[in-house]
């Protein structure tokens, strides 16, 4: 439970930091989705049961909805579906080292963005959105993916250090990085 609570609180702080940095450095497009990195970490660490991980994904998606001003439920749904997909992938893939962490974050955020776009396109009329504007925004998502891939290693390391500090994870073996995605 401490791990889940840590994911939620740190994820919330990271969401707020992302918004703050965007405000300070006046970045509008190339903003990292740190909560998606958290989502990826939850899925590939496989330390939490599926229902709890999904609940966290829904909570993070809901917080992102509130922060980004998206229609409430859009990112919640995208995060939930993406988490299901990532959990399925985590059963078959293991992540070791920063290149795979970056790649996994890149793919995760791409999935989230595609799902978000799909949801918004599907609900464009009731939500009062223009579909052509959505396609333009989807093309800009490439910067979103790159930025998220770049922040993935530090966020990943942050969680590892934090869990070691909170004594809910063993330190990595001296001969190599701790593999994530090992069979439960």
């Amino acid at each position: 439970m401490i791990r889940a609570f840590t994911y939620l609180i740190v994820g919330w702080v990271l969401i707020a930091v992302g918004g703050g940095l965007a405000d300070v450095f006046m970045i509008t497009v190339m903003l990292p989705a740190t909560s998606v990195v958290v989502l990826t970490h939850i899925a590939f660490s496989r330390a939490l049961p599926m229902p709890l991980g999904l609940a966290l994904a829904i909570a993070l998606g809901y917080l992102e909805d509130l922060h980004q001003g998206a229609p409430i439920g859009t990112l919640t749904m995208a995060y939930a579906l993406a988490f299901v997909a990532l959990s399925w992938a985590a059963e078959r893939l293991a992540i070791t080292g920063w290149p795979t962490r970056m790649l996994s974050a890149f793919v995760s955020v791409l999935v989230v963005d595609l799902l978000t776009a799909a949801i918004l396109v599907a609900l464009a009329e009731p939500l009062g959105l223009r579909r052509d504007a959505l396609w333009t925004a989807l093309w800009d998502a490439r910067w979103h993916c790159i930025a998220t891939a770049l922040v993935a290693p530090p966020v990943w390391t942050l969680f590892e250090r934090l869990f070691i500090l909170l004594k809910i994870q063993e330190p990595a073996a001296p001969d190599g990085p701790s593999p994530l995605g090992a069979p439960r």
């Binding site: 919330w12 930091v17 405000d23 049961p49 829904i58 229609p71 439920g73 009731p126």
Partner: protein, 292 residues
Amino acid sequence: MAVSLRSIQNATIVVVLLAIPVVLLRNTAENPHELSAFDRSVRRIGGPLEAAVSYSTSMMGSFFERWFMQARLQDANERLAAENRELAQTLRELAELAEENTQLRRALQMRDRTPADMIPAERVGVDQSPFFRVLNIRIDRGTRFAKPGMAVLSPDGVVGRVDKVFDDYSDVMLVTDARSKIAVEVARNRAQGILHGDSEYGCIVDVPKDYEVEPGDLIQTSGVDELFPKGHPVGRVVEVEQLVGDQQRLHVKPEVRFDRVDVVWVVLAGAPRPDTTEPSQGPSSMGLQPIR
């Protein structure tokens, strides 16, 4: 494949959880512009956290911004300082030009006011007392234009008379010189007298006691000596001294600041007539005509 009770339980929970975003989306689609009470509560709870994070991020961002921008600011500062120096220099030059322009305008206005024939002259040197008082000034008019005894005026008042004349320049004896004598009158009541130089600080003139004179009265040339044009200011009474007998002595402070005189006018009225046998020696032969 055996399906455990736990797996069924988990799948049920997952389906229920997945229904949450569906419900949220349905509510949003029905009313896209309004937050629910739960949304507002979450925002209220997260508000202080977000504010603190935003504030810290802003502080950190501004620190790095200052750090990284310092070099550029330094360059800009140096460039602006250099530009400022140049502009200050230009401003000083403009101020000098403005002052010179003002003096020239005043000199031209004086020329228009004065009926006598005059030629302009520029100050080229001064003799000063040990206390930095101007004792006499040197002008750039020599023997071809000036003669000893000619009156020298400035827009502010009487400067003095030409004393020694050399080839290319002349020395002017100031009104404060002990040898200087000028016919003057009190402007208010026409009380006439001869103004003597008293010291490097001022002059004196004795007038009859019949005339009431007060400090501040203007002393001007009377024109009696036929050297100075009538009515040109000389100075102001600073003290009235009652003498034994029927005279009173007026201590006069000159109107002209001799240390600030740049351009003066030499009055030609008192000059000897030019030698007609050698016309090339006169001012007109140099292209300079007396000014009326």
